[in-house]
Point group: C2
Chain length 99, copies 2
DNA sequence: TAAATATATCATAATGTTTTAATAATTAAT
DNA sequence: ATTAATTATTAAAACATTATGATATATTTA
């Protein structure tokens, strides 16, 4: 990776690096969801969810299709689910995370 | 992942989400390095490197052993190199990165 | 057309990150 | 003991992120 690539990769990682945004990715791993389903499931405000989704879409982690007055969100790149496995193991093995 | 786990995972991802810190991980993928080798290779100040290494060590991404007046840095968890592959592909496939 | 529903945007206060420069601490060699 | 080399800490300015509440924009339904 050259420096430009690292700058972009850092932006993508930043877009993942938030509990709500990780939650969105995790929920969408199961299935497509509307914006309101997402903020109900994850327990945050509508405004918060709208802003976090914008960040995820900007980095193309999530894509959105419109249907009437609703918007359906889904994962753009399921490859990122690997990062969850990696984190899961790291937290337990290196950071002493207890369930 | 529950919310506590997401909070911790977000911290780990934040620790990666910086061009210099990504550079450190990439360089250390090849071999162990001293702090001064790292800031020379990556072209940043000594102070900057020291601070970035602290962040990487806190999340146990990097570990350090002391030898005389120098410190040798190495990767704690090589599993994270997977994240680089993932990013490499994502930038090109979804974010139109040009070499 | 008016009301209801779903989502987005804006403003802002609080908080956190990044960068730089200056200084401190530690070890090794003279 | 001084000096040189390596690394860490601190302080501060600039900048970015987060969270909240208020308001705006579509879209559908009555």
């Amino acid at each position: 990776m050259n420096n430009d690539e690292r700058i972009m990769a850092a932006e993508v990682l930043k877009a993942m690096a938030h509990p709500i945004r990780l939650g969105v990715i995790e929920v969408l791993a199961g299935d497509e969801r509307t914006v309101s389903e997402l903020y109900e499931i994850l327990g945050c405000s509508q405004s918060m969810m709208s802003q976090q989704l914008k960040i995820l879409c900007q980095q193309q982690l999530v894509s959105i299709r419109k249907e009437g007055t609703q918007k359906y969100c889904s994962l753009s790149n399921r490859d990122f689910l690997k990062v969850f496995d990696c984190m899961h193991t790291h937290l337990r093995k290196y950071l002493n995370f207890k369930d």
